[in-house]
């Protein structure tokens, strides 16, 4: 694969310090027909950057994200978040995870809890078990949670149960939950794949605002090129577990897209493009 030289993107962010640094990370899923999900992936992401990781289904986008907060254990390589190496030692890992919010394709709200309780669960890592045992949070936590809900215009649904919301609303609450962690990084794993285009744009706009206004680094997995072109400042193209492009979204040429989506080898695989 011809690798584009890593290029930093918009002016102004060039001088920002590195927030997430992925070095030579590989992941092979064990088991029958062991699959190589990631092959020597290296990326540097700066503070406050809005980065889109683009690639077809099965390219390893999700695995890469899960390696960053260790929901998946990489086979080799190292990841540094905000100057701290991500390890699997529980206490240190929890400290890293507290700084890294995550947003999922399936929203993953705890359906039977209220919207407020879901957002408050973003505060759990700040508390000891004894407090959580009685499902109690202090006033400051509640203020933070409601503020985060207001940021995604969901404060009017504070007391509703999560499973009564529509998909787009659930994803906004999920963003609020990630924000309630007061994170330095947000990982959004295909956050709009199960939403219609109008709602999808709304959600992406919120995510982009967050990066801009709060200075949170946002890594966003997408498989749709048009959204990447519309929202990304910088795009990392992932194909079959390897980085095949790293540069500003303006430089996403047809040639490069062909490489990402390997249209030449597998016909009929390009409906998303």
């Amino acid at each position: 694969m011809n690798q584009e030289p890593p290029e930093t993107t918009t002016p102004g962010q060039e001088r920002n310090p590195t927030m997430v640094s992925v070095k030579d990370v590989s992941k092979t899923y064990a088991g029958a027909g062991a699959t190589e999900a990631l092959r020597n992936v290296s990326i540097e992401v700066r503070e406050g950057e809005f980065l889109v990781i683009l690639g077809p289904s099965g390219a390893g986008k999700s695995t890469l994200m899960r390696c960053i907060n260790r929901l998946v254990e990489p086979t080799s390589g190292s990841i540094i978040v905000d100057g701290r190496e991500v390890t699997s030692r529980r206490r240190e890992l929890r400290a890293v995870r507290r700084q890294v919010g995550m947003v999922f394709q399936q929203f993953n709200l705890v359906k039977r809890l209220s919207v407020l309780m879901n957002v408050l669960s973003g505060r759990l890592a700040y508390h000891t078990l004894w407090r959580s045992l009685i499902y109690s949070f202090n006033k400051e936590d509640k203020r933070i949670a409601i503020e985060c809900l207001a940021r995604v215009n969901m404060e009017h649904k504070t007391f509703q149960r999560a499973d009564t919301l529509s998909g787009g609303e659930q994803q906004r609450v999920a963003i609020a939950r990630a924000l309630a962690q007061q994170p330095k990084v947000i990982l959004a794993d295909e956050p709009v794949a199960s939403l219609d285009p109008k709602i999808a744009r709304q959600v992406l706009t919120y995510l982009k605002q967050i990066a801009g206004e709060l200075g949170i680094t946002v890594l966003c997995n997408l498989h749709q090129v048009e959204y990447a072109r519309e929202y990304a400042e910088r795009v990392v193209g992932l194909s079959r577990g390897a980085v095949v492009f790293d540069g500003p979204s303006g430089k996403l040429t047809d040639d490069i897209l062909q490489q990402i989506y390997y249209r030449d080898s597998e016909a009929g695989d390009d409906d998303d493009v």
Partner: protein
């Protein structure tokens, strides 16, 4: 193109016919074997419809001695009826309390893993890191496998005749049932919700509190109510071995050949069980 296409369809059709014939032959074989085994079994355990017909007049005799029931005896059964319900309430309540921690230990995704620094891989292959899980399951299987009446016999000799032995018997058996059921429910929870709370940096216990328990609580409550219903039924017979409740009145009147009163006991048991069933089904419908 069309030629090969038609040939392919014909070949698959032929395969389907062969497949069907094989299945039929197999079904015939297993069916025949099942019938043979059942016939042999019926013979072994002396299932004989003639005996039932011949014994009909004995049964009739027994029934006529019970009829008409002595309804005035109901007034003496009040205390025993209340006691039956009390045994069921406390037995189930204790089972609910015991089964909360036990069900967490009895689910693969919440049980504490035993990780020793040596031979980790061998340990994992033998799934010995699930030691706590396996031991808990073993305990629950023992609790479930032993009938309440047997537990009651043991506890009567331990704490003496009376309802407390019944409470303990029901509590142990129901704990086995509830914790196993709830453990399986915990294993079936949505992994996505767990991952989301994990990703916030929550500890293992916090994940259980905020992602696991909310998911299993409706099933747990519903099953606890069902268990209460079953416990009432069990509590009506525990008295047969001296562990309190209506069963004790039943066996007492029978031993004294007061069959009119026995009939009243059976009537009250029937009403109690039917009432509990009705109330519990309403209650469960409300929870779900």
């Amino acid at each position: 193109m069309t030629m090969t296409f038609e040939r392919d369809v014909a070949a698959t059709l032929q395969m389907e016919a062969a497949h069907r014939q094989r299945r039929f032959a197999k079904g015939l074989g297993w069916g025949g074997l099942t019938v043979a085994v059942l016939w042999f079994t019926a013979d072994q355990i002396g299932m004989n419809p003639l005996a039932l017909i011949k014994g009909a007049d004995h049964m009739w005799d027994f029934l006529t001695r019970m009829f008409p029931p002595d309804l005035s005896y109901i007034f003496f059964l009040g205390r025993a009826t209340v006691e039956t319900v009390q045994i069921a309430v406390w037995g189930t309540l204790l089972a609910v309390v015991f089964s909360i921690p036990l069900s967490l230990l009895a689910a693969r995704n919440t049980t504490p893993l035993v990780m020793l620094p040596w031979f980790t891989e061998t340990w994992q292959r033998l799934s010995l890191h699930l030691l706590v899980f396996h031991l808990t399951r073993l305990l629950l299987n023992m609790l479930r496998g032993i009938n309440e009446l047997i537990f009651a016999l043991i506890f009567v000799s331990a704490v003496g005749l009376g309802p407390f032995a019944g409470v303990l018997a029901i509590a142990l058996h129901a704990t086995g049932m509830l914790a196993k059921f709830c453990g399986e429910e915990i294993e079936g929870v949505d992994q996505g919700q767990i991952e989301a709370v994990q990703a916030t940096g929550a500890s293992k216990m916090q994940v259980i509190l905020f992602a696991v328990i909310p998911q299993v609580i409706p099933a747990f409550i519903s099953y606890s109510i069902f268990r209460f219903d079953v416990s009432i039924r069990s509590a009506t017979v525990l008295g047969l071995v001296g562990a309190g409740g209506l069963g004790f009145s039943l066996i007492k009147t029978m031993k004294l050949f007061k069959y009119y009163e026995t009939a009243t006991c059976i009537l009250v048991i029937f009403l109690l069980v039917a009432g509990a069933d009705w109330i519990c089904s309403k209650w469960r419908a409300k929870v779900i």
